[in-house]
């Protein structure tokens, strides 16, 4: 496959709000990043940080109303998806970008055989006969490690791990250039999760698919990604390569996340959690959203919303205390 250096997906200053009964939720607030064809991009954050909203926006799947895209744009393969018609978007989804969701149980149709569900997607996007589609579906099943004789099985006959494999097979059936995986292994046991992650890695290398992985688990990011962004209250607070984030983190929130996870190789008597509660997205302050939970918060932090600062090439931190790296 040819190496492209233009980004497959580019998100530019995206601001997304949605209406709820409790007021307007400021879900995404000025998020920018790009994914190159060889990237595995991790989007890390806690519940309600806006990770899934970003992903759905990239798929053009946000319902309007209640969702409002206030500003910014998403470009897939250099083209603004806001300018695309519904039919064009349908072609882009599956062919260029596809997405897998957290819960494999609800993503599959319970009354259609798993093989036929894969074939159906291929038929939708590619000009081929039913037989060809079925043959390709069979290949896909084997690719994700499911024996061909299970082609006619129904979803309920499979375990959780197997179902997630089928979902991944469906998502990859049309060779998308970008696969967005929203918490793909959260519903699975650790040993099964390890199998599925290994398989995702293997398929990514084999097909050359770019991957955007949404997760709350920093361990998974360390395992599989090369770039990553930490999201808090709909903003990227730190973005860079995994080395930047894991070895030289600067943002207090990123540091707090690491201190919150009990370590396996060190003995820590007491964890150092991030204080306070997760911020209410209907009530964001006009200054740094992390202020109330931050130990280093000063008057200056409450004066204005900090900008992303480039501390080393490609490593950005949204904090006034961010300092250029010495090396």
């Amino acid at each position: 496959m040819e190496k492209k250096t233009t980004p497959i997906a580019k998100v530019d200053d995206l601001v997304i709000h949605y209406e709820t009964r409790d007021g307007v939720v400021e879900a995404v607030n000025g998020v920018s990043f790009e994914i190159l064809p060889a990237d595995t991009f991790g989007l890390v954050g806690e519940t309600g940080a806006g990770k899934t909203t970003i992903a759905l926006a990239m798929m053009g799947l946000l319902p309007y109303p209640p969702t409002h895209i206030i500003r910014g744009k998403v470009e897939i393969d250099g083209e603004d998806i806001a300018k695309k018609s519904k039919n064009d978007m349908r072609a882009i989804r599956g062919k260029k970008v596809s997405m897998i969701f957290q819960d494999p149980m609800t993503a599959l149709n319970p009354v259609v055989g798993i093989g036929d569900q894969i074939a159906e997607v291929i038929l939708l996007h590619e000009r081929c006969t039913k037989e060809e589609a079925q043959k390709k579906a069979l290949d896909m099943l084997q690719m994700v490690g499911i024996r061909p004789e299970r082609y006619k099985d129904y979803p309920h006959q499979l375990s959780g791990g197997m179902k997630q494999r089928v979902v991944i097979a469906i998502a990859l059936a049309c060779n998308p250039e970008l696969l967005i995986a929203d918490e793909p292994t959260t519903a699975l046991d650790v040993t099964i999760q390890a199998q599925v992650l290994d398989m995702i890695k293997d398929l990514r290398d084999r097909f050359g698919t770019a991957l955007m992985l949404i997760t709350h688990d920093l361990g998974i990011v360390a395992d599989i990604c090369n770039k990553c962004a930490v999201v808090y209250a709909g903003e990227i607070v730190e973005i860079g390569t995994v080395e930047d984030i894991f070895d030289r983190p600067q943002h207090p929130y990123t540091l707090g996340l690491f201190a919150s996870i009990p370590s396996l190789d060190k003995d820590v008597e007491r964890l150092q959690p991030v204080k306070g509660q997760i911020i209410d997205p209907t009530d964001l302050p006009p200054y740094c959203s992390f202020c109330d939970r931050c130990d280093r918060c000063t008057e200056q932090c409450r004066a204005a919303d900090p900008k992303l600062v480039e501390v080393s090439p490609g490593h950005f931190v949204k904090c006034i205390f961010a300092r250029k790296e010495a090396d």
Partner: protein
């Protein structure tokens, strides 16, 4: 005398295809003030074990001795008197609180049931005290559970469990539904309470890093049986059962350095319904031999002091001297 002694505990459920062996011959003892971690994957019977110990389920066989009394077989009326000593914190703080009760009512409920507070004022004072203990701000007293975030809800669950001054608390995945930053707060709270009140915990979880952090001893369960039992510090240095090895290596470590070599398991969990009397892990084990597949269920043997493993080939695999 140990606070809790569980011997040959069995919990079978009749299902359409036969008997589901959710907990199959589990024994352990737990000293006062200690924390026992129970780890395993979904379906290994760890939650059932917890529910059987606090008698939400009546065991099929076996004994559960709490302070020397067999609580598994005692009449319900008598057990009602002991129940305040044994409480539980539930996994899902979203589902384990009645959505129609206010925070104050929720925390007061156990004390209303046991009528521990003679007057309304005493009850209110005790609720305030409990809210303070779990660091729940007073302004939430009239809120309802769905208005609070997961961390605060779990604090309510903890306050409810503490209300009757228990000696033993079974914590069933108390932090699994929480975000990491909140999870750490709740873990710290649980540890502080243990120190202050001298509590004993049974801590059930699937998260190895959490269980390592909080436990003194750890039991690893697979399909209803204990496969390995060791002090927490020992287990993470020396894990001898092939399943424990796989489980520990599968944890995604949030660091780019010294990542463990993955031991990938083949296949999926076998069925816990009418299991054969052989090693239950045989189907997924990399070290499995014909003898493992056809032999009896391996017994839990003490391989090193306080370190128990249920594997026929534990000495061969780990190049250990034959203890027997």
């Amino acid at each position: 005398m140990a606070l809790l002694e569980v011997e040959h505990l069995k919990q079978y459920f009749p299902v359409s295809k036969g008997l589901l062996h959710a907990v199959d011959d589990v024994s352990f003892t737990l000293e006062k003030g200690k924390t026992l971690g129970v780890v395993g994957e979904s379906g290994c019977g760890k939650s059932t074990l917890g529910k059987t110990i606090i008698r939400l389920l009546d065991p099929t066989a076996g004994t559960v001795r709490f302070e020397g009394q067999d609580i598994a077989k005692m009449p319900a009326r008598e057990f009602h008197k002991i129940r305040p000593d044994i409480q539980m914190i539930f996994q899902d703080p979203y589902a384990s609180l009645d959505p129609r009760l206010s925070i104050r009512e929720l925390i007061a409920e156990p004390m209303r049931i046991y009528k521990t507070q003679p007057t309304k004022e005493a009850l209110n004072r005790r609720v305030d005290e409990l809210m303070d203990t779990v660091s729940l701000a007073k302004r939430f007293e009239n809120s309802y559970p769905h208005e609070l975030d997961g961390g605060r809800r779990q604090r309510i669950g903890i306050a409810r469990a503490l209300a009757l001054n228990p000696k033993l608390i079974v914590c069933d995945e108390p932090v699994s539904a929480l975000d990491v930053s909140i999870q750490a707060q709740v873990l710290n709270l649980l540890q502080d309470l243990q120190k202050e009140l001298g509590l004993t915990y049974i801590f059930i979880t699937h998260d190895m890093s959490v269980v390592k952090h909080i436990s003194d001893d750890i039991i690893v369960m697979y399909l209803g049986q204990i496969v390995e039992k060791a002090p927490a510090k020992v287990l993470f240095q020396q894990h001898w059962h092939p399943y424990t090895k796989a489980l520990l290596s599968a944890i995604p470590v949030p660091s780019l350095h010294n990542r463990p070599q993955r031991v990938l398991l083949q296949g999926e969990l076998s069925s816990p319904i009418n299991p054969k009397d052989t090693c239950r892990f045989a189907g997924r084990c990399a070290y499995c031999t014909e003898a493992c597949k056809n032999g009896k269920t391996p017994a839990l043997r003490e391989i090193a002091p306080d370190h128990f493993v249920a594997c026929h080939r534990v000495q061969e695999i780990n190049a250990l001297p034959d203890a027997t």
